[in-house]
């Protein structure tokens, strides 16, 4: 069994419990051991690209350092994934940042970006393998047209995240095929849902999330899947559409026979 460090982040323990629970039970069934670090902190939610800003990057560095001795750090939430990978990428290329972080955190030696960060979907693709996953599916989503919603945080900026082609991604569609469904390709799959603007401007959030849902519905989708709690919130609450929205981990657990009640 391979052992990875697992970082849930703030929302997976509160409003996005399904995203967390089904990620953990599925990993166990797939032979992946996920170990949560003690006393982890929130990643900060949004990465600041400012080259001279250090303090707001420290919690991500603490998480990266907690995973130093495991096979890698696994994140599920798109925002955690984005913040932690961008921090890791920038710090690995910036010696002055390494020194400042070392002083802030009073480290014996500087953290230089050695931890490998995987999004859970990358773990499925690169560690488990989609073919292997397919062979473990007991309840395939046969005949279901499923639209993958990437949004912004999973893919961009692609230089730092290096997860998939940012304009024509396939990792979620390959996941959908592995669990027996039919992926639906639609124009808005990698455009923003409105994100945190929902706190300040519901109108803008509803325009953005509505455009995403319309695009998926027009392409014939039966449901839409996401890895991001804030995307799920915007698509469900602000879009005005009734197309069902699920976390990808819910479908994964269901396909593996680990989730009893079907949400179909």
């Amino acid at each position: 069994m391979q052992t990875f460090t697992y970082y849930p982040g703030c929302t997976l323990r509160t409003k996005a419990k399904d995203l967390d629970l089904y990620a953990r039970v599925s990993a166990e069934a797939l032979g992946i051991s996920l170990v949560e670090p003690e006393n982890w902190q929130c990643c900060g939610g949004a990465y600041t690209t400012a080259t001279n800003e250090v303090a707001t990057k420290l919690s991500a560095v603490r998480t990266l350092m907690a995973a130093k001795d495991s096979e890698g750090l696994i994140t599920v939430c798109s925002a955690c994934h984005n913040v932690i990978k961008q921090t890791n990428y920038d710090i690995s290329r910036n010696e002055s940042m390494q020194n400042k972080v070392r002083q802030y955190l009073d480290l014996g030696e500087a953290y230089t970006g050695d931890t490998t960060v995987y999004h859970y979907l990358e773990m499925l693709r690169d560690v488990v393998g989609f073919e292997n996953l397919k062979s473990k599916v007991v309840k395939p989503f046969k005949g279901k047209k499923i639209a993958a919603y990437y949004g912004c945080l999973l893919l961009r900026p692609s230089k730092a995240l290096a997860m998939d082609n940012p304009e024509n991604p396939s990792i979620m569609e390959d996941f959908i095929k592995a669990i027996g469904g039919t992926p639906v390709i639609y124009a808005q799959r990698n455009e923003c849902c409105g994100g945190y603007i929902t706190l300040e401007d519901k109108n803008q959030a509803s325009k953005r999330s509505g455009a995403v849902m319309d695009s998926a519905e027009n392409a014939g989708a039966d449901m839409i899947i996401t890895a991001c709690p804030l995307c799920l919130y915007n698509l469900k609450k602000n879009s005005g559409s009734s197309l069902p929205v699920y976390y990808f981990t819910e479908l994964l657990a269901e396909a593996l026979g680990l989730k009893e009640d079907s949400n179909e």
């Binding site: 929302t11 939610g45 690209t49 303090a55 912004c152 994100g195 945190y196 603007i197 709690p229």
Partner: protein, 127 residues
């Protein structure tokens, strides 16, 4: 023109605004286009010309969703979102307080609002 401020923005963003060839692709692809007074391409050329005060005082700073689509799609690798972030940081530091106050948050919440939204809104507007 405040040369110190322009230099600070250049260093903080890490962007060479002179690489911009004015194609407007960043603005054309911006999800907040309709909400903005100044658009991503304007941030780039106004910083180049040192016209930073109108940007610092504009609500456009808080319409940017940090979706990085302008960074990804710029054919010259100018990375406009990093310019917007640097100007936002200058504005937040100058006003000496957060863009959002804690008192504004509870009325904006509902039972399903993920913590991620609150943390992100605060973190983005404070430093």
């Amino acid at each position: 023109m405040n040369k110190n401020l322009k230099d600070w923005i250049d260093i903080t963003s890490g962007v060479n605004v002179r690489k911009c060839m004015r194609c407007g692709k960043c603005t054309a692809t911006c999800p907040s286009y309709n909400e903005m007074e100044y658009h991503p391409h304007q941030f780039v050329y106004m910083v180049e010309r040192g016209e930073i005060e109108p940007l610092i005082n504009s609500e456009s700073l808080y319409k940017c969703l940090t979706c990085f689509v302008c960074v990804e799609r710029c054919p010259r690798n100018v990375e406009p979102a990093k310019v917007v972030e640097a100007v936002r940081l200058a504005a937040v530091r100058r006003q000496g307080k957060n863009h959002l106050s804690a008192e504004q948050i509870p009325p904006a919440l509902d039972d399903d609002m993920p913590q991620q939204a609150i943390v992100t809104a605060f973190r983005k507007y404070t430093k």
